[in-house]
């Protein structure tokens, strides 16, 4: 397996793990919070809001400016 395939497989695995967490969070009585609830809780504090905006900023930087 080439390095490229391993790197891409890693991203796919992470995406699958995210999907798995999302589905697990939807189950009734799950301890795992839904992503939207987690985001809502983060945005309730100033520090959390700034942190979320910084992640969003980095995404833009990474994909459009670099």
């Amino acid at each position: 397996m080439s390095s490229r395939a391993v790197t891409i497989a890693g991203f796919l695995l992470l995406a699958l793990a995210g999907l798995g967490l999302h589905l697990r969070a939807r189950r009734p009585g799950s301890r795992v919070p839904r992503f939207g609830d987690l985001l809502g809780a983060l945005l309730e504090t100033r520090r959390g809001r700034v942190g979320v905006v910084l992640v969003w900023w980095w995404l833009g930087w990474h994909f459009f400016a670099r």
């Binding site: 080439s2 390095s3 490229r4 790197t7 891409i8 890693g10 991203f11 992470l14 793990a17 995210g18 967490l21 969070a25 799950s30 301890r31 795992v32 919070p33 839904r34 992503f35 609830d37 987690l38 985001l39 809502g40 809780a41 945005l43 309730e44 504090t45 100033r46 809001r49 700034v50 979320v52 905006v53 910084l54 969003w56 900023w57 995404l59 833009g60 930087w61 990474h62 994909f63 459009f64 400016a65 670099r66």
Partner: protein, 136 residues
């Protein structure tokens, strides 16, 4: 009341129009150029200042309790993604030159974002994402 709602609607329409024009112009800049960097830096810096200044409003619908033990799983996923991306990034020949063997997500997205319309559309989505975060 109706006048206020119309004014809000007009402001919203104007904001969408400005965002569309901004995304179209910024999407046309060459990558790694100063205009491209500035076009991402400016809205990002404004958003960070706005996020730091504005006192979070109490949510209209009370937020659901978040169990920290469950939230740790999301944090682990986020850190795992950061580590994998960083691992690919440090193996690039230079910060501005992607690696075929160790592509970052942005390198993988390059063919999709190569055209002006696609990049502008993605930029518009990015701006909308930031706007929705600030509005919450």
């Amino acid at each position: 009341m109706a006048m206020r709602s119309r004014a809000l609607e007009a402001r919203g329409g104007l904001a969408v129009g400005v965002a569309v024009v901004y995304a179209w112009v910024a999407g046309g800049f060459e990558r790694f150029s100063w205009p491209a960097t500035a076009s991402v830096f400016l809205p990002g810096a404004l958003a960070v200042v706005a996020a730091g200044r504005r006192r979070p409003a109490p949510p209209a619908v009370p937020a659901r309790e978040v169990d920290p033990r469950g939230a740790v799983l999301w944090l682990a996923l986020f850190l795992g993604f950061c580590a994998w991306e960083l691992e690919a990034f440090v193996q690039q020949p230079s910060p501005t030159e992607g690696s075929w063997d160790h592509p970052t997500l942005s390198v993988l997205a390059d063919p999709v974002l190569a055209s002006h319309p696609a990049r502008s559309l993605a930029l518009l989505g990015w701006l909308a994402m930031g706007w929705s975060v600030l509005r919450r």
